[in-house]
Symmetry: C2
Subunit: 135 residues, 2 copies
DNA sequence: TCCATAATTGTAATCATTACAAAATTATAA
DNA sequence: TTATAATTTTGTAATGATTACAATTATGGA
């Protein structure tokens, strides 16, 4: 038996050959690969693999909280307020709210490894009025 | 004299009619409008306005740190590590690094206004090796 | 007025993501 | 096994925001 098999089965996901391959690729490449990187890497071993399958499979894993999507950009928004603050985006109504929290500074561990020029802190969830307008 | 005029002039930006209009729109709409929203709102008053101009003008303001771009999504990346942590993205080499910082929790002020389901903390800048490979 | 420069426009290209229907595979039951 | 249903995978086309770029227009000084 395979650990990935049992993990997927625990989540009611049928461990098809392709799905297991994609999962194991993520296990062996923790450096936040893109869809294209996953596709390019696996297409040798799985010559009939399609990119849609990679998208579909990742969506499946994300829905089961087995994989996290790093959402780094989207339709851009513009803010005249250039002082540090955070934002909350409602996943229902798509509204964007200001949050008066500053992104934390990097501590000594990272201080000389990275020169930070900008930080973005984004919360996702459901805003109050959208919570109410549900049952 | 106009405050926007002088502000732009201070930044060596010629305060053309269009540029002033776009800037004032941002001043009067602080809710993080998109390019399309800006364009749609101004196209009545400026019938010959083009979206490219909106893009160009915003880029100009961003370069002068008069406007901040909210980068909320981009080519997606996938992370098998679903526990809270932050990321640093190098603007030169595009590499993505893990940072062992948890996004701060929302305090009482926001606690019952927003139901947070996810948080993303992203730092931008230049990584060590890219700093070195410069003069 | 003439000319150089800058600003603006419009269209086409790019490219990641999504939609969707067809094809292939797998599971289930007769 | 064979038929049938359900699921998985595929391939292509659509979407839509952003960018590239060349053409056009406006501006300001000589
Ligand atoms: Mn804001
Ligand atoms: Mn990570
Ligand atoms: Zn909402
Ligand atoms: Zn770098």
């Amino acid at each position: 038996m395979d650990a990935v098999h049992t993990l997927l089965m625990d989540h009611q996901i049928k461990p098809s050959y392709t799905r297991v391959k994609i999962f194991k690729y993520l296990q062996e490449h923790k450096n936040h690969p893109t869809v294209d990187e996953i596709y390019q890497a696996l297409t040798e071993e799985l010559p009939t693999l399609s990119k849609t399958t990679v998208y579909n499979t990742l969506k499946l894993y994300i829905d089961h909280h087995l994989v996290k999507e790093l959402v780094l950009k989207e339709q851009k928004h513009y803010d005249l307020i250039t002082t540090p603050h955070a934002h909350f985006k409602c996943d229902r109504c798509e509204q964007l709210f200001d949050i008066a929290i500053e992104p934390p500074a990097l501590d000594e561990t990272y201080e000389d490894a990275f020169e930070v020029r900008d930080a973005q802190l984004l919360y996702h969830g459901v805003c109050r009025s959208c919570q109410r307008s549900q049952a």
